[in-house]
Symmetry: C2
Amino acid sequence: MGGVPIFSKAQLMRTKENTLLHLDGDPNWEAFDAPALVGETLRFVSGDKTGNRFKMKYFRDQEQNLVARVWFGPVTEGPPEHAHGGSIAAVLDEVLGLTAWAAGHPVVVGNLNVSFRQLLPIQIVVQVTTRLISVKGRKIMIHGEVSSLDGIVYATGEALCIKISTENLKTAENRVEG
Amino acid sequence: MGGVPIFSKAQLMRTKENTLLHLDGDPNWEAFDAPALVGETLRFVSGDKTGNRFKMKYFRDQEQNLVARVWFGPVTEGPPEHAHGGSIAAVLDEVLGLTAWAAGHPVVVGNLNVSFRQLLPIQIVVQVTTRLISVKGRKIMIHGEVSSLDGIVYATGEALCIKISTENLKTAENRVEG
């Protein structure tokens, strides 16, 4: 990474004006209900109620792959006017983990590897595409990419997800609640 | 990841009551002024003004290593009552990048690798310790660990940082502002 921003200020202003329309995704995609699958508590990323961090919608594309449209809000700032690397990593963590869930595998993310390619301007809508790479025993490898809607790659990510039984999940919750 | 929480609800309540005191760090440490070094814009993590995501203080320990004390607030939630993996990755991204800056190397994080070991209960103060592993040309490798104050390791991280010239930084800003 270390690339310089690719928008002029004027371009960026025009992009910001129309950007939220892009949260609705492609007309050929199907909305994907993440909370119905994994619960309502993903408050840090997609469950953001403030609208200042992320606005985010999940879909399945025509090949049934999970895809997310994400608006990085003002408080995701790291470098001036650009997303904090940590906010990009946070989005990838959630989207890649959910990709395994959406494919029928309840998981936790065991390892997350993020490569930052280009500074990501805040307050525009970008896309996270995903691909399930392999399922080997309890280990599921997912790849993903954060890019602009015209194909500039801002970051790539790999998540090694570990399958859990839903029984384990309930035990974990009981340990906290009991 | 994969681990079950290690606190009973009663233990967790007691921990939460006293936890913010631990943000002040060890009396032998020296406060470290991150904004003075990298600017005021790290809004997503240490620059959080809401107090709902992170409360965070940086120090240098007796060996001059950068160390951070971090409180994960209510909106960092992912799994019920536990930190979203993405919030842990976000903290590691910032702390490991700053470790390079604090050692005199202006950098961007090129790659971040996070291993999740254990679910991290929210609303307690934890510690991020760091170590500069190597400097090879423009590449600086930093390791770090997120742990409880009594030594439970929640996550480990490695950041490959890429040195930038401050001249490049200015150019990047001009491209956005111009």
